[in-house]
Symmetry: C2
Subunit: 334 residues, 2 copies
């Protein structure tokens, strides 16, 4: 029920996903509103879609702590509890990110050895092994779940990000880097200096610090940082792509010839912007909780919702949480 | 003597500046190398250029603290001391940023009421009052001088950034915003939450928090943050513009028609990248020290050096340090 276009795009996305996979999908929220959206799809009866009606929802501008306390039957809370009860394998929400994080945490608990959950954004990256016109990906975490982190949290993020890159992006041995403001171990703030030392002996392929200018360069598969820094990096990217696009459009709209240039480059731009906007890439998994949660952007399109649901189903099918548990225990023992 | 192309681009930039303004320019560094570069310019004798020979320099990979201690006659140190002695009005360096900050701090001391210096990067911004194809600017500080800041430092940065926007960008009443990860006062980390409260009563036109996605939107003229966050925002922007450009080129190089699209959009791109790269915009002033220092990027072109020297001369001519002193005292008294 969350997101700017709820419940329409969530329902449409679920319909698109249900046409692709055999897994049943449960839609949690205002039953009548959901039914109305479903009725627009002619093949609705043939799809494995169930509705669980909830009378309450968390609005985008509510405090998540207060909202979840005051609304025990809020859609995101009920959905997380369905997963915790084993009636569903994974949760997707395009609603209030904070509420989704808190509801998941409350319903699933944390993985052993993990203190904080992290949102893992998947961003486009350049790379020599990329096909022409295609690009590799880089996983940035935490991209916004925790504003304040301690060094050991970044080590946990590194381990979880590497496990995600292996499971979801088919990277055999993910190279993990620490986002800082200088490549040398001694550069950066207190958090990055201490995290650098811990990462050197952590059971991940740590390639050292990278500067923010290298984030998209393909020199690392997983980049760890605190959630404040990660969110800044992510949002600056979204804003900058819009700005470049705007300025280029102005410059290129001058004559017929340059207008042609704009038409030709516009599609390439739109593709890139989608990939920077993490939800369009399929949503950001919330790593660290003992269950699968994929968080979508409030502006998620139906296609983005579909991708996110497919990602959630893929992670569930691969036994991702069990794998993470094993790795987290191994790390704790080391 | 610093920077990737030293001393050639620094000398060429000084020559370009000397052709434009009447102010004499002193070149500090290896006298023989500087003379060799100057000899390439036929009008050299007609220009008001003086050389001060120094036998030492700080290399880009040295620790600034150690280098400045071990090399009392390093070019950046001698240059800062010339300014402190009143033999020059301002310092420009495209060399080691840390060494330039430390040498300036040591030679000039701090302005009364200011605890930490800040690098102010000028970035392009959109805005309704911009001419077509042109854009306004936004001043981002600290963009890398201090990795750890306290809330009161951000208030000092706000005041200095506003004074700089008035003096250098002709903004009558600069709107100051705090960079955070949510617009609400309660969002963000400890630093931004406390700084938000202080800024509300500070003698600046504080417009509240802005998210990183709004940095280039033109909704603020001055944006304050700690130097770690500012450097991440700046570097991510540089890296992303390169990445977008690369990906667009690949996509557009496919056919003759799309190749034309690339040719048409390339110049617009190059212009934008220059403006994101702060040195190309004319260098970043180091605000807070009791003298004028403008810091250039290590990759500064001769044109960038010229712009930075002209900015330094303009700030000196406008009595910028005296104005800042008055404002800093007024703020301290309030």
């Amino acid at each position: 029920m969350g997101g700017d276009l709820a419940p329409r795009t969530a329902v449409d996305g679920a319909v698109l996903a249900a046409r692709r996979i055999d897994t049943g999908i449960t839609l949690v929220g205002d039953g009548e509103a959901i039914e109305r959206e479903l009725a627009r799809h002619l093949d609705r009866a043939a799809l494995d879609l169930t509705i669980v009606h909830t009378p309450e929802r968390v609005a985008m501008d509510e405090s998540p702590t207060q909202a979840l306390r005051r609304k025990p039957r809020a859609s995101v809370k009920v959905a997380a509890e369905l997963v915790a009860a084993g009636e569903a394998a994974a949760l997707f929400s395009a609603g209030h990110t904070g509420a989704t994080v808190m509801a998941s945490h409350a319903a699933f608990g944390m993985l052993p050895g993990i203190d904080r959950p992290a949102l893992a954004a998947t961003l486009p990256a350049r790379g020599t092994d990329a096909r022409p016109g295609k690009s590799r990906a880089v996983v940035l975490l935490d991209s916004g779940a925790n504003v304040e982190c301690r060094p050991q949290h970044l080590v946990q993020f590194a381990m979880m990000g590497a496990a995600f890159a292996r499971a979801a992006l088919d990277v055999a041995e993910p190279r993990v880097a620490l986002l800082s403001i200088g490549e040398e171990a001694g550069k950066g703030n207190e958090l990055t200096r201490e995290a650098h030392q811990l990462l050197r002996t952590a059971p991940v392929a740590f390639v050292g610090n990278i500067e923010a200018g290298e984030l998209y360069s393909g020199s690392a598969d997983v980049v760890v940082c605190d959630g404040f820094t990660g969110n800044i990096a992510l949002k600056v990217s979204e804003g900058l792509v819009e700005t470049v696009e705007d300025m280029l459009r102005e410059e290129l709209a001058e004559t017929l010839g340059t207008r042609l240039g704009w038409l030709l480059s516009r599609r390439a731009f739109r593709n890139f912007r989608r990939r920077v906007d993490y939800a369009e890439y399929g949503g950001a998994p919330l790593l660290g909780v003992a269950g699968i949660t994929v968080v979508g952007h409030g502006r998620s399109s139906a296609k983005a919702v579909r991708s996110a649901i497919l990602m959630a189903a893929r992670l569930a099918g691969a036994g991702f949480i069990e794998k993470l548990k094993v790795e987290a225990s191994a790390q704790r023992a080391s």
